[in-house]
Amino acid sequence: MSALWQADNLPVWLVVWPTFGAIVLFLLPARWRGMTGVSFALANGVLALVTVFFVMEVGVLRQEIGGWAPPLGIALALDGLSALFILMTAVVGGVVSVYAKIYFTQVVVDSARSSLFWPLWLFLWAGLHGLYLANDLFNLYVVIEVIGIAAVALAVLSGKTRAMIAGLRYLIAAVAGSLAYLMGVALLYGSTGVLDIDLMAERLEPGLTTRVAIALMLGGLLVKTAVFPLHFWLPPAHSSAEPPVSAILSALVLKGTFFVILRLWTELFGVSLTFMAGQMVGVLGACAVVWGSFQALRQERLKLVVAHSSVAQIGYLFLLFPLITVPATAVAGGFEWAPLAWSGAVYQVLAHGFAKAAFFLAIGVLVMATGNDHKASMLNMVGRLPMTTFAIGLAGVSLIGLPPSGGFLAKWMLLSAIISSGQWWWVPFVLVGSLMTAGYVFMILRLAFAPSQHEAELKSVPRGLQVCALLLAVGAILIAFPAEWVIDLLEGTSTFGEVVRAGAPVNSGEVGP
């Protein structure tokens, strides 16, 4: 039996376990799903811890599926970056699962409907694991679709018409995005004859086809990551879902496609990227920061504030790409900022994951207590729901990037990298983004301290829900402390700290076969 448990098989278990959970939960009757689901989620957490441990010990793990080596077969690759994302998924997912268990037993939307949450959520989880492990472009397409369909299904779980409309918009955007991605994959397969990322990176030549393929893949993934101006589907979808679902969508699902972009950008696209390509993606990110924050400031409903805030916070992630894509000529001067930019972006992922999940869960509590999520329902909350207000406060601190929090560390590293790379034009965006974030976070908190004229009686909310929200918010603060450990883990990966040396512009005159 020892062969079953050896470290090489770890990537397999990461996919198999949640999938097994999903199918078991599907077969179980509705009333048993909650408890079983939480057990599977906790087991996922243990698995994630083991994964991180092994990656720290062993380094990059590779597993060829079916005994067929690429290019014929599919390989899974597990490195520090994926281990970290898996760990974040496990922690956020674990807490959200507990929350969901309590939430769906308390708020009986419709038990037949809400019990669908569990198999879908585990399928989504399995998809995320598959995504973090994938090393094959077509396999990525399939898992992206698993994630996409499961995510939309979860988003419409509430059954409200608003959610349905938002969900359909989300689904169509997601399908169009992944088909654009697949078009790019097809072009690349035609050019290289392989699908494995590593092999393709060796064979890929710059050229018009490669460029168009990259543009298509990137475009498709940017839609799914909701980067400005392709974010139109996000605010309605995230704001109309049930709170645990909103938390999953914003904290985990968005990060999945970002992970793919990050991986492809550094491992595959390098041959054909120019300095301007990086700058253009950076401009999108910067616009997202400003536009998302601006929209968040204007919203009247809390869930919409938080959803628009996701657009802005995702924008920060895309400031990484201009920093690590520099002209080949400029690299001679050293590029010590690259690891900083990398870990900054990864920290932004972690911090946003924790903080945003906490935010949505806390607003879920608020909605349960007051019956709506209008801003005014925050009035005098500091006295009435102190724990939840505190959770919102802590999550807000991390979102703004105030010390001591994960968000602070992310901004610190990003800003340091920006300044040392000499691309100072991103600085104002980071700062203005922070200020605007402070604006909408304190716009909410301010109300919590204000008196309310006619105070409706609050419905009682299970303490467990409040604790879950607070736990994640505290997590957003605490992740600042093991930074050195996290960076060590990331350094185990081959790609970490990589600078994409953008070549000279490719002349578009060359002719095909």
């Binding site: 397999v12 079916g66 037949a112 399928f123 399939v142 050019s191 168009v212 076969p513």
Partner: protein, 323 residues
């Protein structure tokens, strides 16, 4: 390229583009659906021209067949209160002519760039040679089946998973898990019913044959599954209501069994030191056949369930309206 063949290809190409545009700008939804189904069938011809009989079968069965049925089935809801689908352009664009010109030019430019990219695509060489070299070890003789169920079985497994997820997702959209038992028997057409009696067993046999064929020839689990689903749909139309009368336990296992067994098989040789989805070479053929049988069952059942659920969504609404 010989002239008649080139002419045929050119004709197909033209037809495909015209039907695609037609499916998007037809004035009524019914015409859209018809154009789309014709498009799917034409596409099947194109696949055949491109030496892809497996794809042709899949496209005809699933892409045009099943989706066409679902589209037509949905039409009665969408066309209620007028079947006008003419407005394609956003209403705030200045003038129709202007916007049409802009959109057409934009689309053309995009297509031109994309076409250039395809035209300039280097010859990657593909994986034909490698597939052929490994075929003797794969346990099947048909290369596509070998790719689907051996070399890249992980993808195929996930894809069967997508079907299960999609079923759950459709439950979410419909608002309930499971199938409503009808309150009264639907009115069934005697012609359809007698036709169904004739066709259904035949289709099950065809499905079995396709499945068996898949080992060496085009065909296999997906195609067989769709044919099975077609049998199910015809029986449904004839008023048999198989799915609604199945117990929850039965349809759930039916939906899940293909995926579940595939997973079980994938890990079951790992204790022997083999990898995920790796089978002992001698057993590969029979094992793949078992997987295919179960997958066919699940796929057929899932697709039938799609239809039954769709039909039920509309039916429950029409009941509500008549009350």
């Amino acid at each position: 390229m010989s002239l008649p063949a080139g002419l045929l290809d050119g004709l197909l190409a033209l037809l495909l583009v015209i039907l695609a545009v037609r499916a998007l700008i037809a004035p009524t939804l019914y015409q859209c659906a018809v154009a789309f189904i014709s498009f799917g069938l034409t596409l099947s011809l194109a696949w055949a021209r491109l030496a892809a009989p497996d794809v042709a079968l899949a496209e005809a069965a699933i892409g045009a067949g099943l989706l066409g049925v679902l589209l037509i089935n949905s039409l009665r809801d969408f066309s209620r209160g007028g079947d006008d689908a003419s407005a394609i352009f956003g209403k705030d664009l200045p003038t129709a002519l202007f916007s049409r010109t802009v959109i057409s030019c934009g689309t053309l430019a995009f297509a031109a760039v994309l076409g250039m990219a395809m035209f300039h695509m280097p010859e990657g060489g593909g994986l034909t040679a490698l597939t052929e070299a490994s075929l003797p070890h794969s346990g099947v003789e048909h290369p596509v089946t070998a790719v689907l169920l051996n070399y890249r079985s992980y993808d195929t497994w996930l894809e069967i998973g997508v079907l299960v997820v999609a079923m759950l997702a459709i439950f979410c959209a419909g608002g309930f898990e499971g199938f409503r038992r009808p309150e009264q028997g639907p009115d069934s057409d005697p012609v359809i019913e007698s036709l169904a009696r004739l066709l259904a067993p035949l289709m099950v046999m065809v499905a079995g044959y396709l499945l068996w064929l898949g080992k060496a020839y085009p065909g296999g689990a997906f195609q067989a599954g769709v044919v099975l689903a077609a049998a199910g749909i015809i029986l449904q139309l004839a008023g048999w209501q198989i799915i609604e009368n199945l117990s929850t336990w039965a349809w759930k296992w039916g939906l899940g069994i293909g995926f579940f067994f595939f997973l079980a098989l994938a890990v079951s040789f790992m204790p022997l030191g083999l990898g995920f989805f790796e089978y002992p070479e001698a057993w590969a053929g029979p094992l793949i056949l078992v997987v295919e049988v179960l997958a066919t069952l699940s796929i057929g059942l899932t697709l039938t369930c799609f239809f039954v659920y769709f039909n039920g969504m509309g039916a429950s609404e029409s009941r509500r309206r008549t009350r």
